[in-house]
Symmetry: C2
Subunit: 198 residues, 2 copies
């Protein structure tokens, strides 16, 4: 999931940057083995030989630690609620633009493609991506929508966004890979808008 190798040092836990590194390494192992839903701060702390409170102190929530562990400086769990809270008739376009502008940044694109390839390519790591998307993105959108079929609406949005990222950045199918961000926002924004509010 990341370029960091798990550290397997033995001996008494120390504080400082060494603890931070051991926690990240433990998180990479734990998320990889248990998936996003199965991994707990408690078990990551145990693996790193530190107290749970220290993990929370350094990294905050499980979503924070996940972002750190996979190394992707993109936080839909934080940014998307803000987009949803904006002008209602622009939500679809703003959401598509947010995702595309993030992936146009080489560092995010490189890591995002790696995460997609890894999570989809291996049965073992699929729950990592699925769990994060369900819990931190779809769940949050659904809660904010507050209608009966909100979970399905949010998942339909995720399906179109995932398909967009897949065809543009992984499969690189020519017309969608070559299109401008503005063009794709204009074409796909209304789809997201309809899934959310239609």
């Amino acid at each position: 999931m990341t370029e960091q190798k798990p550290l397997r040092r033995r001996g008494r836990p120390r504080g400082g940057s060494d603890s931070r590194e051991r926690i990240i390494a433990a998180a990479v192992d734990e998320f990889g083995e248990q998936g996003y839903d199965g991994a707990t701060i408690r078990s990551i702390a145990a693996r790193a030989g530190v107290d749970s409170a220290l993990v929370h102190h350094y990294f905050g929530t499980k979503a924070d630690l996940f972002a750190e562990a996979v190394g992707i400086p993109l936080r839909p769990d934080i940014d998307v609620p803000g987009i949803l809270a904006g002008p209602r008739d622009e939500v679809g376009e703003r959401l598509v633009r947010y995702v595309l502008e993030a992936f146009e940044q080489p560092d995010i694109r490189r890591r995002g493609v790696m995460l997609m390839r890894t999570a989809i390519g291996s049965r073992l790591t699929t729950p990592l991506l699925a769990g994060f998307l369900s819990r931190e993105l779809i769940g949050r959108i659904a809660k904010q929508l507050g209608v009966d079929d909100a979970e399905l609406r949010a998942t339909l949005v995720a399906s179109q966004i995932a398909g967009l990222l897949l065809t543009r950045y992984v499969l690189k199918i020519a017309p969608i890979a070559a299109a401008s961000v503005d063009e794709l926002v204009a074409r796909i924004g209304p789809t997201v808008q309809r899934y959310l509010f239609g």
Copy 2:
């Protein structure tokens, strides 16, 4: 891409079912190494130690041979043009229903998921899926639409279909994995319709 192992027998090429098997094995190797676009009937024939004419005789076109090699009894290159030629205001719904009803069949689902995992998980085999989609599906839809931006329209359809298959059958995100085919046809059909004709 398939459960068949390449046959590595030596000796003089023979006819009959042995040639068929050797051609399939050669196709699996060739598609895996060269991708869909890079593979040629000529090179597959050479690999199998037979004449190109024999490959065409047994398997028809490159698309036919690909379907046989990946073992998926689903032929969008044949079926989709028929759907597009049907009643215009139902094309979106019929296309989504066609894909979902195919993937509801365990054998197609199992092989389709395996193909997606393999093609996305490995940089080497990505051109296999991308090439087939571009050439045989998107290209054919675009040709039938016959408008200026037909290629982009067809690729947008592919992005939503790919995202649907990914979230429902690979990531298995609950609300979209549990939804009925009818529900998904009603929600996603209008998206496909708009991408094609909107």
